[in-house]
Each structure stands twice: as structure tokens, then as C-alpha cells.
Symmetry: none
Subunit: 195 residues, 4 copies
Amino acid sequence: MRDPDKPQQIIEAAIRVFARTGYYSSRVSDIAREAGIASGTIYLYFKTKEEILVTLFREKMAEFVAFLRREIAEEHDPEAKLRRLVRLHFTVLEQNAALAEVVQVELRQGHKFFRGASAHEVSAYFDLIGSILEDGVAAGRFHADLPVKVATKVLFGAMDQVATSWVLGKRGYRLVDSADAVATIFLKGVSHDGV
Amino acid sequence: MRDPDKPQQIIEAAIRVFARTGYYSSRVSDIAREAGIASGTIYLYFKTKEEILVTLFREKMAEFVAFLRREIAEEHDPEAKLRRLVRLHFTVLEQNAALAEVVQVELRQGHKFFRGASAHEVSAYFDLIGSILEDGVAAGRFHADLPVKVATKVLFGAMDQVATSWVLGKRGYRLVDSADAVATIFLKGVSHDGV
Amino acid sequence: MRDPDKPQQIIEAAIRVFARTGYYSSRVSDIAREAGIASGTIYLYFKTKEEILVTLFREKMAEFVAFLRREIAEEHDPEAKLRRLVRLHFTVLEQNAALAEVVQVELRQGHKFFRGASAHEVSAYFDLIGSILEDGVAAGRFHADLPVKVATKVLFGAMDQVATSWVLGKRGYRLVDSADAVATIFLKGVSHDGV
Amino acid sequence: MRDPDKPQQIIEAAIRVFARTGYYSSRVSDIAREAGIASGTIYLYFKTKEEILVTLFREKMAEFVAFLRREIAEEHDPEAKLRRLVRLHFTVLEQNAALAEVVQVELRQGHKFFRGASAHEVSAYFDLIGSILEDGVAAGRFHADLPVKVATKVLFGAMDQVATSWVLGKRGYRLVDSADAVATIFLKGVSHDGV
DNA sequence: TATGAATGAGCCTTCATTCAT
DNA sequence: GATGAATGAAGGCTCATTCAT
């Protein structure tokens, strides 16, 4: 296994193909053609078609979380961190049309993906959100009795649904324009009572 | 085409089979066996395997929204309506294990379902939430400038993610126990500033 | 098995359906619907779908040959008999559009039909032609060394091809207008040399 | 799609299989086995089972007509051309048992073949015969008022029926032995009156 | 390493036939 | 006898994966 760029080329090709045709309707040969290689070559780098999808998700998700983590480190108070997180979440999706389609729509293929394969990367994202919330609680910015785990899912679910609606709605508006509304509702919702 | 119970029997069988094996991995013959009929019989009532899934979703979703609408009519102020909605959303899923699996996991099959087939039923649910929010705004209970559409997606997304996590987490706890937390965060988030 | 008209009704329905859709593409249920009965009823009168086709052919062919035989008896010299036979062959087909389609096109389904099932009726037609030829030879009207069997096939094949072309050509002209030409060529071809 | 011999091998295998079992009763996998390849391989070269049959017919028919055309060019007067055509028509069929079975029996599958697919090749044969007849008329060898189109069908139909009878009759005699009789009847039939 | 022709297991769907009513 | 819902065998076709070159 030599060419170190091939796996990445294959994954980028797969994103475009899955976005266009959907995971189940995409043939391995479509990905190969899109990547400009022979279909047999794919099997030098991935054991199965499913492994492409799993790898694609893991990699993109890990990248995404790492990026968010870096960016968020620049903010210092929890509210600002979360506002930035929501805004970046939407910005990244908005700037990567094919990826957004795949992540929001195609990846939700049955049990295979949330369960098992990608669980680790999703939970890394959950951990990121959760730790900000915990910091906020500790700092007295968020409600002392906040059920952090539930709140984490609430925020993720909210962003996810807004993004999905935007993808399904053919992107007829700027996704990032919803960022403040989402962040505001959530922050008010979790804020310390006195606020 | 006569037996008026057959379609329902087939759909109930399909729910169990899809929950167990996933949509793509389920054979039509599996559904037939589960329903205690011959596989050809299914085609007297459904044109394709996909039609089973689409019908299943539409029917269950329409039923679900109708049920919520009825129950919610008993409450009179918007906050109470929403608290009840969240609680019922979770209760119904919790009491229908196979359905929950299918709705939260299997139905998210690529573009086919959110897009197209089920769009109408999902948007009926969105309409239900949206109209409660609008009433609340009109009644001065929710923030005057609340972006209702975004808020609707926030609530739906929050419930959906909490439910999905519960299904994927093998139901190690009571889903309904998260209802108040979700409702509280959301209601605080959208409440009139003075509250 | 009671209703003595049913088999006939089924056969007439089958002719229309086969003419419209072709034998293999026609469902038994199509024939039933065309006949205004339930599909199960067909099996009270015919053992299989194929039996319908075979019976149809035998019956129509036998009827056809009997009719020709009767009509031809009115003529007395062999040439006149053959001219009349050609003319009637074409006239009958021309006046029974659906039957013509079935006999010329649909019945030619592989080995099943020429071979076996209908062989007897076809050979009755061959016998009719053959005996006229033999009479003609005996009467010194046709060539003394005429190979009767071959000549029989030549005439039948000629009529059959002219009819088939007419059916396939969407009947854009009168089939019977070709009768004299066919008869003339054949009669000249088999005539006693001195003629 | 590479191996340039595969399509031919598949067609030759299909001829043997169709001759043996009939088109409708033959499985694609039978053809594959006969050709010594996997059934999926067939679909690299043909889109459907029907395409095999259509291609088979077109190719063999085109080949046949081209061969006749070449051979006939060696003769100079119309009568000789036709005699040779009849003889070759029979010779080719006699020397290709499986092909004869398929062409005379299996290909006559309903409307699919005379109509549509093979119409072009059949009419090329008709054109060949027709042009010889026209030359003969122009040269004063055939009857001046000869209806050429009808006469063409008469000859083709005659040869076709003689061949079909021979195939159905299990080839109990030499087909080519009928060639002269067929040619003689036809030639006398179309000859200039004075002859 | 790269290729892409070949493989063959797998499955949806059709439809002739049966049979309980 | 008549019905038509139910049956289930059968087969065309797809496509992930392999492997000879």
C-alpha cells in the first residue's frame, strides 16, 4: 500500500458521490470513476464499501471537532464559546455543500453509523459541548442544577435539526443567519436563574 | 384486494423486522414470515418494499401528530402545551420499542425519507409546534421577537436527539425522565424576557 | 363443469387479449377480466394457460379448414378451387382482425405450437391443398411431375407470408387484393407445361 | 468491456441453448454455463436476455443476406440468381442445425421480432429478392406486370415454410433436395408469358 | 501497485395456479 | 359452479468483491 494520498482522494470522491446519489445507491465503481482510479484500487485502501463511509465520517468528524476545539479555545467565557461553536458549526457546513449533504442526510443510514462506527467521534463532540457546559455551571454562568448530559443533546440536536432543515430545504437562505437565534435560545435556556 | 387488516398487519410486521435488522438488510420474505403470510401476498397490498417503509412512516407519524394534537388541546397555556408535548413525545417512543428504533434510526435512510415521502407529515408536526409558539408569542408568554421557525426546529431537534441517544444507548434509563429538563431549557430559552 | 358457453367465451376473450398484448405478456387474469369472469373460473374449463392457446388454435384452425373445404366443394376444377382457397384464406383473416394477429403472430411461439399441439390441424390444411393438387395432376391440369408435398408448402408459405406482412404492416391495404397475384403465380408455377 | 470474442461466444452458446430449450424456457444461467462463463459476465456484454436474442438474429440474418448477395453476384441472369438463392438458403440452414432451429422456430416469438428489432434485416432480404425480380422484369425474363412486392413475399414465404417444415419434421430428408422444386415453381410462376 | 474483467451470491418481484368460502 | 385472495416457485439482474495480468 503505497500512495499516501489515495485514501484521501477516495474519501473526497466518495463525499461527492454519496452527496449526489446517496450511500446505498452509489456503486463502488462510481466512487472509483469520480476519483479517477480503477475500482479494484479502492480495495487496496479500504476493505469494504462500508469502511469508506465509516472512515469518511470518522475523519471528517474528528477534523471538525478538532477545528472547533481550537477555535473555541480563543474565547474565554462559556457563553462566548458556545456562540462561537454554533456559528462555526453552521459556517463549516455552509461552506462544504457536499459534506453537509453527506453528514446531515446520507450518514444517517440505519443503525450502522450512530451506533458503532462513529459513536466515538460523535461523543467527542458531545464531550466538547459538555465540558463547556460544566465549566459554565462551575463558573456560575449556567444554572446550578443543569442536567449537563441532556443539555448537551439539546444543543447538538437543535443545531443538527436546523442544519438538516437547511440542507433539505435546498439551502434557500444563509444557514449561519440562524446561528444567533439558536445560541440565544439555548443560552437563555441554560442560564443561571438570576440572568 | 380485500382483507382490510392485512396492510396493517404487514406494517406492524415490518416495524418489528426493520427494528431488528434494518431496512436495507431486511428481506421482503422476512416481513412476510413475520406477518405469517406468503411473500407474494405483500404485493397485493404494497407495490414495492419501499412503499412499505414510506407508508409505515406516514401512517405512524400522522397518528402520532394527531394524538399529540388531541392531548395538547386539553391544556390551555402555551407552556403547559409544550411541556405536555415533550412528555408525550418521549412517552410514546418509550412505550413502543420497535417503533422507536425504526423512527429514530431506520427511517433516517438517506434522502428518500426526510425529503419527499414523509416531508408532509414531518411538517405537520412542525406546524403543531410552530402554532403553539405563535400563540405564546401573541399571548406575551414567549419573547416578542422569537424567530418561530428556528425555535420550532430547535425544540424538535432537541427532542429528536434525546430520543435517538436513548435508543442508541440501549434504553438504559427512562426516556421520559428527560422530558422536564428538555422542556425547561427550551421554555426558559424562549420565554418572555421579563420572566 | 356446467356452463357450456364458458369455454368459448374464454377463447374469444383470449384472442382479443393475445392480439393486444401477446401470449407471454398476457396474464390469465387479463383473460378473465376480458371475459367478465373470475380468474379461478378459467381453471374450471382449462387446465393451464397454454391449454387455452392450444385449444384456441385447434378450434379456429379446424373451423377454418372445414369452412374452406365446404366452400371449395362448390368449385369443380382445381384451378378454381385454389383461386377460391387463396381468396377465402385472405378474406377470413381480413375480416377477423384479432384472430389474424393471433394466428399470424402470436401463435408462432417457439416450438410449442407448430410442433405438437397444432400439428394435426395444420396438416389437415396441408391435406386439403395437397388433395386439390393431386386431383389437378390426375386431371392433367398441373404438371405431371409436380412434387405435391413441396408445392403444398410453397402455396401455404406464400399465403402465410403475404398475410403476415399485411398484419405486421398494420393492414395499410386490402389483403384480399393480393389474392389473385398469389394464385396466379402459383398456378402458373404448377401448371401443365403445355399451358 | 474488453474481450472482443465474448459477445460472439455468448451468441453461439445462446443459439445452442435456445435451439435445445426454446427462448422463454432458457435461463440466462443456462447460456452462461453453455458458454463456460459466469452469468453476471453476460451482462457485461448484453443488457438483457432479450438483447441477446435480438442481436443474435440481426447478426445472423445480416451475415446470411451478405453471404447470399456475394454469391449471387456471380450469376448473371435473374433465373440463375434466384435458383442459386433458393439453393443457398436451404444449404445454409441445413448445415447449421441449431441456427436453423432458432431462426425458423424460436425467433418467431410474438410481435417482438418480425416487428421492430429484426424488421430491418428481414427487409434487406426482401430487397435482395425484390431487386432480382425487378431486373428480371426489366430484362423481359419475368412477366411484365409482375407485382414484385407480392412475388417477393411469395418466394420468401415458400422457402420459409419449406424450411420450417423440414426443421419441424426432424430433418428426415435433405432440405436442399427441395430447392429445385421450389425454384422451378416460382420461376415458372413469374416467368414471361411467352415462356 | 494498479487495473478492470469476471465472478456469483443474493433478492425483489411476477404470475400461474390453488382452494377456502 | 364461481370467486379472487393467497400462494410460493422461479429467474432476471445487480454489484461488492476478487484476482489474473
